[in-house]
């Protein structure tokens, strides 16, 4: 599996650099058996520059999500290295840490804090979150009473206000009902401009082509 890179002129300096990154998972084995490994990524090298919108495409199981986690620093590569030149990197995690028993407000706070915000930062955005998620008074009701659309709206609204140096997106442009999806997508795509650096994983090549200025094929 070689990563081929289709280079389109980009702007800005390199902020994250991947060099021959390889990741393997242990499939089975342990104390008494010889371990067997599954190679998820092999020899992946590319640079992410400031302002890039980088699309990652590949079939199922090609290691797209693993690659995102590696860039985010959640998992460490087994070989090669990921060099971060001093930027914050976050995986956009919808509904991270949601507890169905708790009201929307509490879930927004804990979810935001898990993503790396301080409590004060989330609290000061609560009215924006309520407004964007269109939940109204439902925000004070336990999340277990929400429809799945409402839940994803809340999850998206919390993530919406996140602007790390590099934002990693894993197939997230499909949330909520049709109406909200349009709104979410337009808001998300807005992020794609400004100087936000984004790495996007998607099955939809059309989407990648439309949004990205660089494409990595796994």
């Amino acid at each position: 599996m070689m990563a081929s890179q289709q280079q389109i002129p980009a702007h800005g300096e390199v902020i994250i650099s991947l060099k021959d990154v390889g990741v393997r998972y242990k499939r089975r084995g342990g104390l008494f058996r010889k371990p067997e490994y599954f190679q998820a990524l092999e020899n992946v090298s590319f640079d992410i520059c400031r302002g890039d919108t980088l699309g990652i495409v590949g079939r199922n199981g090609a290691g797209k999500s693993t690659l995102l986690r590696t860039i985010a620093g959640i998992i460490q590569p087994d070989s090669g290295e990921v060099v971060n030149f001093g930027v914050t990197v976050s995986l956009l995690a919808l509904q991270a840490g949601f507890d169905p028993e708790l009201p929307g407000t509490d879930n927004a706070i804990i979810s935001g804090m898990l993503m790396g915000y301080t409590r004060r930062q989330v609290e000061s955005r609560m009215s924006d979150i309520t407004e964007f998620s269109e939940l109204g008074d439902f925000i004070y009701q336990p999340v277990k009473t929400y429809s799945s659309g409402m839940r994803s709206r809340l999850g998206f609204a919390v993530s919406m206000f996140m602007t790390p140096g590099v934002l990693l997106l894993d197939e997230i442009l499909s949330v909520g009902d049709k109406e909200f999806r349009k709104k979410a997508e337009s808001e998300m795509v807005k992020k794609f401009h400004s100087d936000q650096t984004i790495v996007l994983v998607s099955h939809s090549e059309g989407q990648i082509k439309k949004l990205c200025n660089k494409v990595i094929e796994l």
């Binding site: 998972y25 509490d106 924006d128 996140m162």
Partner: protein
């Protein structure tokens, strides 16, 4: 319907509208050969339809069969004197053939006949534009726009003139006007994107391409946000510092308790009821039914049992917490210490009420509080420290060797019986005392008894040794966490 088209319709042929639709399909698909043939058919049966002549001429023109095209369009001019499009398309043909003077003649002719037709103005400006007389084209176009301010074609042409002059900046401004006035007009975005690209402004070019989908209001709000720092967005700190980490653990534990309480009808009351029932059971069994252990045994039993339960519940609950947190660990970057610590804080929160109930019980049992009770605070603190070390250590170990989680309940049982909860220390032969007290839980429980039941100060040296041991353990555990932190997300799914 005129007399003329009744004939073919009666002969079983498609009516004029259907036939034209069929021809239009080819035209719209830019299949010019097919279009020419289909329009010829239309013309055959419905010669009174102007489209059949004009569109056929256009199709031949596109195929560069100019003579045929001219024959058709000049016939159309004769046949349909009221249709400005005949003259205009004739002019287009002449432009194509490079005969700009002739084209100009034709459109001027059209201007005389159709003075109130914006399309004619467009064609005049177009002839000039094609002849590379851009200033003249601009002049005509502006005059037209004055008379027909609502005409989108003229506005688009105005921008196109700037494009032809390669004046990309002006073109961008003009496209912006097109977008504002005619937001549905696709070229306002697509062609503007080309202009931006020529200017070397790639981000703007991409914005414009996307704006075609999301609309002009989106583009404006995007550009406004770009100017000032957005009101919505906030940046997370580079990396969580210890303060935000503590706040996160605290908030999560607090919310977990709230969530737990929300699941029951009696909510927070359970935190009192649960230990109350628990203590009642032991009181009835050991104090009333069995009447064993002599006077004061119940107080002795409970001061040991209550802190031990705190320990047991916490260790039991937190040992699997890192494995249980794998979903979250793969979504956000978080120290694995978070998971056991939340469990500890959560259980400690509940335990404060239990200690309160224990205190009340002792008072009613006839052991009124003395100043020595204050010493329970350091004892509790040391126990908390011990639990942090053991819970975090076990939680760290379980992901690597899952089998350990099967041993934990047994281990707790073992501790329950070796920590001197159901028997007093003097039952143990004195030569075993050192071994007995090397169990930190036995040591700590002994301190609780000294303070709460026997109204003495704790055995500071014993407590000190446990504290020291815990501190060493804590340093080791923290070092191990720092070392292992990057591999946890991998280990938990393997």
């Amino acid at each position: 319907m005129t007399q003329g088209n009744q004939g073919p319709a009666q002969a079983g042929l498609p009516d004029s509208k259907d036939l034209q639709e069929w021809a239009w399909q080819a035209t719209h698909g830019q299949e010019w050969r097919l279009a020419a043939q289909r329009w010829a058919l239309v013309r055959e049966f419905y010669p009174d339809e102007s489209a059949s002549w004009i569109q056929a001429s256009i199709a031949h023109r596109k195929l560069e069969e100019y003579d045929l095209a001219e024959a058709l369009i000049s016939e159309a001019v004769e046949r349909f004197p009221q249709n400005s499009n005949t003259l205009r398309q004739y002019a287009e043909l002449e432009i194509e053939r490079g005969k700009f003077d002739r084209a100009l003649e034709l459109v001027e002719q059209a201007r005389e006949k159709f003075s109130d037709d914006p399309d004619v103005i467009w064609s005049i400006a177009n002839v000039h534009k094609k002849a590379d007389q851009c200033s003249r084209a601009e002049q005509e176009n502006l005059l037209g726009q004055e008379v027909f301010p609502e005409n989108a074609r003229l506005a688009v042409q105005y921008a196109e003139i700037a494009m032809q002059q390669k004046d990309w900046q002006t073109a961008l401004e003009r496209w912006q006007q097109v977008r504002e006035r005619f937001p549905k007009h696709a070229s306002g975005f697509a062609r503007a994107a080309e202009a931006a690209e020529k200017l070397g402004n790639e981000p703007l070019s991409r914005q414009l391409k996307l704006a075609q989908e999301y609309g002009n209001a989106w583009l404006i709000s995007l550009q406004e946000e770009g100017e000032g720092e957005s009101v919505h967005n906030i940046s997370p700190p580079q990396r969580r510092n210890w303060k935000t980490f503590v706040d996160l653990v605290w908030t999560k534990a607090r919310l977990n308790l709230k969530s737990e309480a929300n699941q029951n009808h009696l909510r927070y009351f359970w935190w009192i009821l649960d230990p109350l029932l628990y203590m009642a059971v032991f009181y009835i069994v050991f104090g009333v039914l069995m009447e064993r252990g002599g006077p004061g045994f119940i107080a002795y039993l409970l001061t040991g049992l209550v802190p031990f339960q705190w320990f047991a519940k916490t260790v039991q609950q937190t040992s699997g917490s890192i494995v249980g947190g794998k979903g979250l660990m793969h979504k956000v970057r978080i120290s694995p210490l978070f998971f056991p610590l939340v469990g500890i804080v959560q259980n400690t929160g509940k335990q404060t009420l239990v200690f309160l109930m224990l205190g009340l019980f002792l008072v009613f049992y006839g052991l009124p509080p003395t100043v020595h009770w204050l010493a329970v605070v350091p004892v509790i603190a040391v126990q908390l420290l011990l639990m942090v070390v053991i819970s975090c250590f076990l939680a760290m170990l379980v992901p690597f060797v899952r089998d350990i989680s099967n041993l934990i309940p047994t281990g707790i049982q073992f501790l329950l019986f070796t920590s001197g909860i159901f028997y007093t220390v003097d039952r143990i032969p004195s030569e075993w005392h050192t071994l007995f007290f090397s169990n930190p839980m036995a040591n700590i429980l002994h301190q609780y008894r000294l303070v709460l039941v026997e109204n003495q100060w704790p055995d500071w040296s014993g407590l000190g040794w446990v504290f020291l041991g815990c501190m060493i353990g804590l340093v080791i555990v923290l070092a191990l966490y720092r070392r292992l932190e990057p591999i946890f997300p991998r280990v938990v799914i393997e």
